[in-house]
């Protein structure tokens, strides 16, 4: 899927937060976002790019370390890509496709 890598158009995706993570994102669970199709270096946008975007543009709460720890999604937060465990999809390196839904859910809150 590398052909579109140089394309600098945007990719529309939806992002959902649950399990308490929505608290970090202005208490809003659902977002429709438009991400650059490629990173600055021209490589296709990945989950990693999305996380960088979320930290830069979307997170309002100062407690960013509840979402990202040492540069990676905090252990205990599950990521689903189109409802599939991101471990089945390449985790942070998964290349975003138009229409993808990325779902972040924390398991860290009380039960």
């Amino acid at each position: 899927m590398g052909d579109s890598a140089a394309d600098d158009s945007k990719i529309p995706i939806t992002v959902d937060f649950s399990g308490g993570l929505e608290i970090l994102f202005s208490n809003q669970r659902h977002y429709a976002l438009s991400l650059p199709a490629a990173d600055k270096d021209g490589s296709p946008s990945t989950i990693k790019s999305l996380v960088g975007y979320l930290l830069k543009e979307l997170i309002k709460d100062p407690r960013q370390d509840l979402f990202v720890l040492d540069g990676h999604i905090r252990p205990g937060i599950l990521v689903l890509i189109n409802n599939a465990d991101w471990e089945l999809e390449g985790e942070e390196d998964y290349e975003l496709q138009a229409g993808d839904n990325i779902f972040f859910v924390s398991t860290l809150h009380g039960g």
Binding site: L78, L88, V105, T107, H109, G110
Partner: protein, 397 residues
């Protein structure tokens, strides 16, 4: 990459990768297997008897919501004949329980179960908001935890129910094992691995049917079954999971997902080497459940994980150990036998007891003030209440 197919049905797309064995499963097969495994735990540990009235400790959170859903499903599927009731505790924290109680009410309708809500104010004369007003935010999780454990039992008693199930999961148990390992508290470690707490001497039995269920799978089960649950940090302990044993568990899981169950199993194996300790676990191994009081349970149950050992706990633990050391005399032999019969290499593991040798025998009795089962004259809740009430008296003067 091409989507992976389910390892069981080989037709549907795999959506779940199981932490315990890396199996890739579709949604339907995952839900079935998750339920089957809880059923296996229930049957092999002989948790219930037909016609038993069981209260589900319901917080509105993911664990108790999944527990209620799974128990309803299994009760109908396998004809357990259980009479299930939702039991909720209102700690009296403004803005914290209000929404979660709404969730529990919705669950009660969805699962067609009666709901009983018991407030700290009616049980103890104190809401958590009032406790915090009096003692400050530091250490209040201890109060909350001690009060909650009794609250479930007392609520159950009010309903005439002798069995309370809670949503404690494998991550909770692993966390407790680790914390007690770090403290060097093997007796408490062994008790914390038990699937059933309380015995004929206690009026209310406690058990954890989700003891072997990963928190990750509980969240995924709720997600894929579209269960409604409520999440919020307890506003009095927002930092509870930072830098905690819980954080460590999650990091271990990221590196090697089977770690969590491995820690649980290790805890169970260590438990068998501790005098008077429970072994519990999957009844497949034909183990017995050891008696212990509900107030010995350490897992925080929704209030974060940083709750320390309650005041008085050290003394209580010491008292119990005195008793247990006496009762445990034949155990090392049993352990040796078991090992020999399994053809395992013979080992000698030194057991370190932090306390002196037994001098007195403690008899498990009831709290002098409230009648709750306690190994001490006055139970933990009443001890805390005494302190609180003294404070209140001083303020009034």
């Amino acid at each position: 990459m091409a989507p992976a197919l389910c390892a069981v049905c080989k037709t549907a797309r795999a959506l779940i990768k199981r932490p315990k064995n890396h199996a890739k499963l579709c949604k339907t097969c995952f839900i079935t297997i998750f339920e089957d495994e809880v059923h296996h735990t229930i049957i092999s540990s002989k948790l219930f008897f037909p016609g038993e009235k069981v209260a589900i400790g319901a917080s509105g959170g993911k664990d108790s919501t999944v527990l209620a859903s799974v128990l309803k499903t299994l009760n109908e599927r396998h004809g357990y004949g259980l009479d299930l009731v939702l039991l909720s505790i209102d700690e009296g924290i403004k803005g914290y329980r209000d929404d979660s109680l709404e969730t529990v009410k919705k669950n009660a309708i969805d699962y067609d179960m009666p709901l009983k809500v018991v407030g700290y104010d009616e049980l103890y004369g104190w809401t958590m908001d009032q406790v915090v007003e009096t003692i400050g935010k530091k250490g209040n999780c201890t109060y909350c935890g001690v009060f909650r454990r009794q609250a479930l039992d007392r609520g159950a008693k009010m309903l005439g129910i002798k069995h309370v199930v809670t949503g404690h999961n494998a991550d909770d148990v692993a966390e407790t094992v680790l914390m007690n390992l770090l403290r060097g508290d093997l007796p408490r470690l062994s008790r914390s691995t038990s699937i059933i707490t309380g015995d004929s001497r206690s009026e209310v039995k406690r058990s954890k049917p989700l003891k072997y269920s990963y928190e990750k799978e509980i969240v995924l089960y709720a997600h894929h079954k579209k269960l409604l649950y409520f999440t919020t940090e307890c506003i009095y302990s927002p930092e509870a999971f930072r830098g905690s044993a819980r954080g460590l568990i999650k990091q271990l899981e990221r590196v090697r997902p089977s770690s969590i169950l491995d820690i649980v199993r290790s805890g169970e194996d260590m438990a068998r080497l501790v005098p008077g300790a429970s072994s519990s676990g999957c009844g497949c191994k034909g183990k017995e459940d050891a008696p212990l009081t509900a107030e010995e349970e350490e897992v925080g149950g929704g209030c974060g994980s940083s709750a320390g050992r309650p005041p008085g706990g050290e003394m209580a633990a010491m008292d119990r150990q005195l008793r247990e050391n006496e009762e445990a005399e034949g155990l090392e032999i049993d352990v040796a036998k078991t090992m020999a019969s399994k053809q395992e290499p013979k080992r000698e593991l030194p057991i370190r007891n932090s306390n002196s040798k037994p001098t007195t025998q403690q008899v498990l009795g009831n709290c002098r003030l409230c009648g709750y089962m306690s190994s001490q004259d006055i139970c933990q809740a009443c001890t805390l209440l005494e302190g609180l009430n003294k404070n209140r008296a001083q303020i009034q003067i």
